[in-house]
Amino acid sequence: MATVYNWHLGREMSYPYQNGPGGWQFAAVFNTNRCIACQTCTMACKSTWTFSPGQELMWWNNVETKPYGGYPHNWDVKILELLEKANPGGQVWDATAKSDDAPYGRFEGKTIFEAADGMTQRALGYLPSEEEWKGPNNGEDVATGWSAKGAELPEHAGWFFYLQRICNHCTYPACLAACPRQAIYKRQEDGIVLIDQERCRGYRKCVEACPYKKAMYRPTTRTSEKCIACFPRVEGSDPLTQGEPMETRCMATCVGKIRLQGLVRVDETGRWVEDRQNPIYYLVHVEKVALPLYPQFGTQPNVYYIPPRWVPRAYLRQMFGPGVDHAIERYTNPSRELLAVLQLFRVTQRIIFSYAIEPGPKVGEVRINGTVREIFNDTVIGYGRDGKEIVRVTVEEPIYERPQRKTLNSI
């Protein structure tokens, strides 16, 4: 066991392998507030990668309704329960111990690596049965109750929200740690975690260990498969962008414009190298408006979520850690810069490596939580890997008027 630094937890933790030399890391921000659960992302992934025999129960991308939905069924409840049993009452945070190295405070409990016995399991986990992989959208749109008096912020009486899930391409992947064959590897050039389909012998230790249950078994090849982060697109080998890195299928197709994906620079300790103008870095480290999913598992996942504003905070803190209140506060009343950066979601398929803002005129005022806020029509510009501009949008969506057409079936 090596000792590695997990900045989500604000502390060192034990992990079977040492950190790599650093490099780039695949990362994304999902804004749960905007998702309409149209499952376009889910189908984009399926129709690209998992449409063949044996992959019927495989959804590398899935969108589930919380709190009742889950694919595989109750995956998170089951892992939280295992952790609670391993460390009763001890899974707590010290949110006062905040620093640059520990933006959410310090996790005092046990990670899945620390709670495992190390002999039969390198990470605490369970193997879902075939039954549990079926009905991937069970519990869809089921609310906790009826808001009889109507719903109002900050917490709705009856609530649900959509959770969009892909493999987190974790910095400390549990799947990789658990594979006795060393058939799983994490690429230095983009941090993407892949299962070597030649070496895999179908032991399903990764399926058992991944706390997010994003490694899946395929009976027709007797191997495990997982989300590949559409690596040909991220590498830029898709002819469309002529060598420039492109966002994944599930990101690029998102109808609700909730997703922004990029690559961030990481050092040899697993920390992010400061890169203030990278939109992902800005959202995660500067504004701290996007949070990791179940950071207490300890894998340092790389998909970050802007938490839903209307959900009871205790539930959200369990799911996203103690940074929830700050994140919701920031999102509800965004800074001028944040408002501009949020416009970058889904305006290009290319990966935005940095952005700049050109100030625009004041266009209005809104009242938020009793105070008056001015809104400026700033322009935000996204740049690609080579520093060339790839997109330019304004805060106020421009209005286009379509010229009248005379054909009958025009819409």
């Binding site: 012998r201 009976p219 090849t221």
Partner: protein, 329 residues
């Protein structure tokens, strides 16, 4: 002479130097001449030459004439006294025919776990492990030095089944259409994964100390398993010779170490979760397979006589000691 010897031994210093010199001399001799003074003394599995080809059928009558060896396996996962079949022993037979070595393993298992189709299903399996050819001089109790690799023949019950499509496996499954069913769309198949290709029920693997299991370049091991009456019977076969130094090699008149492992799929066993044996000796004899045991009867008589004779000394001595103690010397 006796007195002088005793006098020398009586001096503490003399004893120390004498002892130390003797030990170091012997150690140095062993080291420099690369001599291994000890020899394995455990179970020996004899492989005699069969006049007929036993084939891959564990029920072939040739096997009835081969003497089984019962190899103890270490206790199993069912430790919580909850009962359930553990696999305490595997019974092994060996013969050879026309330059091919045949091994037949037999063990009790109440369930035949032949499928790995559902995510939670694991198949029963068995393996035979030899020191690699290059490492045959290493005695069994030294196994596991760096550079001393092992050659493993691994049989898995699911590989005996056809790799069905879901529509074939589940009678009620309905699929409109699979757009592509070429190997490319079975990723592991396209990558040449032997399980995905369902190439053979037995895989020939090599492992180095602290290395990981890798399929050998030469996939020359054949095998077949049959489940009946609560028992698995699995036959492994491979030609004696190989050019690959990472693989075990055999021949009439040679000896090698061999160990066995058994997995019970319904207990979630796979990979390191298994029942294993120690290394035993596999002795390949050029003599024809007779009906009886491996030793000629005069030897058996000699062994029994030797045992009884020596034991008689022991019993007599024990009785003498007992009487001595009784008499309160």
């Amino acid at each position: 002479m006796k007195g002088l010897f005793a006098a020398v031994l009586q001096s503490r210093a003399w004893r120390f130097w004498l002892g130390a010199a003797a030990v170091l001399t012997i150690a140095a001799l062993l080291q420099w001449t690369d001599t291994e003074p000890a020899e394995t003394q455990n179970l020996t599995l004899f492989a005699y030459e069969a006049d007929r080809d036993p084939g891959l059928d564990p029920g072939n009558s040739v096997w009835e004439r081969a003497q089984p060896v019962q190899v103890p396996l270490s206790g199993q996962a069912a430790t919580y006294a909850a009962g359930g079949g553990s696999v305490p022993v595997v019974s092994v037979r060996a013969v050879h025919h026309k330059g091919t070595l045949y091994l037949r393993l037999e063990w009790d298992d109440p369930t035949a776990d032949t499928s790995s189709y559902r995510p939670e299903d694991f198949a029963d399996a068995a393996a035979v492990e030899f020191p690699a050819q290059a490492a045959t001089t290493v005695p069994s109790f030294c196994m596991g030095q760096p550079g001393a690799g092992v050659n493993i023949w691994h049989w898995r019950a699911d590989s005996e089944q056809v790799l069905a499509l879901p529509t074939e496996h589940y009678s009620n499954a309905v699929v409109d259409w699979y757009p592509s069913t070429e190997d490319l769309f079975f990723t592991a198949r396209a990558a040449g994964n032997p399980y995905a290709l369902n190439a053979s029920p037995v895989q020939n693997l090599v492992a180095q100390a602290f290395g990981t299991l890798t399929p050998a370049a030469e996939q020359s091991v054949q095998g077949h398993g049959v489940y009946a009456n609560g028992k698995w019977q699995v036959v492994f076969a491979r030609p004696f010779s190989t050019s690959d130094p990472e693989l075990a090699a055999f021949g009439p008149g040679t000896k090698t170490d061999v160990a066995f492992a058994v997995w019970d799929g319904s207990k979630g066993e796979r990979d390191g979760m298994k029942s294993v044996s120690q290394f035993i000796t596999l002795s390949i004899s050029g003599a024809p397979l007779a009906g009886g045991g491996p030793e000629d009867w005069p030897w058996t008589v000699a062994a029994i006589a030797l045992f009884l004779g020596l034991s008689a000394i022991g019993l007599a001595l024990g009785w003498y000691g007992y009487r001595e103690a009784r008499m309160g010397r």
